[in-house]
Assembly symmetry: C2
Homo-oligomer: 215 residues x 2
């Protein structure tokens, strides 16, 4: 499944899955998960070139743990969810925040705000065996060397098996699909000319770097 | 590109592209196109089995002309758009209208309302050469033998080349991607046990049947 970037068909991104992030944008903490789709055309790897900020867009970073699906499934049970995971990836759910605010106010889809080309930087595939405890992954993001996000998957409201069960009750999950599991607090803009670094660490905040994406 | 159902990665669906349909749902006629993504996991062909109505969902039909992309492109010019078209397909943009109404009111994504499994019935690939004039395609939908939708692509607000240019200015279009170009007036529910027929005709309303989907 290291080929998920080329073969995967969907990116299912969970919204507001960390209470502190939901609150920082003035949103209620959700009672059940919700998600949106990012197009796989928004994937970009470090060697492919820079992230592009579209004209007039205020682009926010959201560092997330991506779950790479390894086996097709519909209506997957929470107890079976683990067997559908091939591995993980570091992902940045880049968001045109001003576009998103405008469409939210009008009840319009989020697809443009979340789907611009280069809006889903991703690191390499991380085999499942590398993360023994899914509640102990650290998520970090810095801009120009200043730490902006530093969280842990321990704070996810809905856990990965529940997310797999929920999503697959609506749309089947296929080999190579990726679920972005939400972002901790600290989101904010990346401006033209600024550099950034995203990191996954394990175990948790004091652990070793599992994956790093710098630009 | 007859393999688009297996190889395509995205379905980009245009909203409110026929003025009479925008009005019937109480929406303003848009000044620029907007779109949402349906997952390709929602595709279903007639021989694959029935459309499934999820529990509690009021499922509406929207018959649409699908444009199948044959060549990758970013920032495609309107004048070049035609060269990126491989052909067409009859598509039904099934919509959980009650779910959509609820998320619109909350400013949430449309992905669930539009993305359930079996929510994108599609007919066979229609080579580009079969439709010489894109403004003369008839779109028809009947439920239990009663005609509900009967429109013509002549009434599209934004024409296909403009849609290709618009979408590809936000997200690149790839071989096998499909653009659903919007639905004419007459949308409404399909209830459990009801049969339906969707048709594309050419030229226009008095023409021959190009494609038909019955269930
Ligand atoms: Mg289901
Ligand atoms: Mg996110
Ligand atoms: Mg539609």
């Amino acid at each position: 499944m290291s080929s998920f970037l080329r073969t995967g068909k969907k990116i299912v991104a969970i919204g507001r899955n960390y209470a502190d992030h939901a609150k920082e944008l003035g949103n209620a903490v959700p009672k059940e998960p919700f998600f949106f789709l990012k197009p796989t055309s928004s994937y970009i790897e470090p060697e492919e070139g820079p992230v592009e900020i579209p004209r007039g867009v205020i682009m926010h970073h959201e560092v997330e743990l991506g779950v790479v699906i390894g086996k097709n499934g519909r209506d997957i049970k929470t107890s079976d969810a683990e067997s559908h995971i091939a591995g993980y990836t570091l992902a940045i759910d880049l968001t045109a925040r001003n576009v998103q605010d405008a469409v939210k106010a009008k009840g319009l889809p989020w697809s443009t705000a979340k789907g611009f080309d280069t809006f889903c930087p991703v690191g390499p595939f991380i085999p499942k065996s590398r993360i023994a405890d899914l509640s102990k992954v650290g998520l970090h993001f810095s801009v120009n060397g200043t730490v902006k996000q530093s969280g842990t998957t321990a704070d996810m409201i809905f856990k990965v098996p529940d997310l797999i069960a929920f999503v697959s009750s609506i749309m089947k999950l296929e080999e190579g699909d990726v679920i972005l599991t939400g972002t901790p607090a600290g989101v904010g803009p990346i401006n033209a000319g600024e550099s950034f670094t995203a990191k996954l660490t394990y175990p948790d905040l004091e652990g070793q770097v599992l994956s790093e994406y710098t630009m």
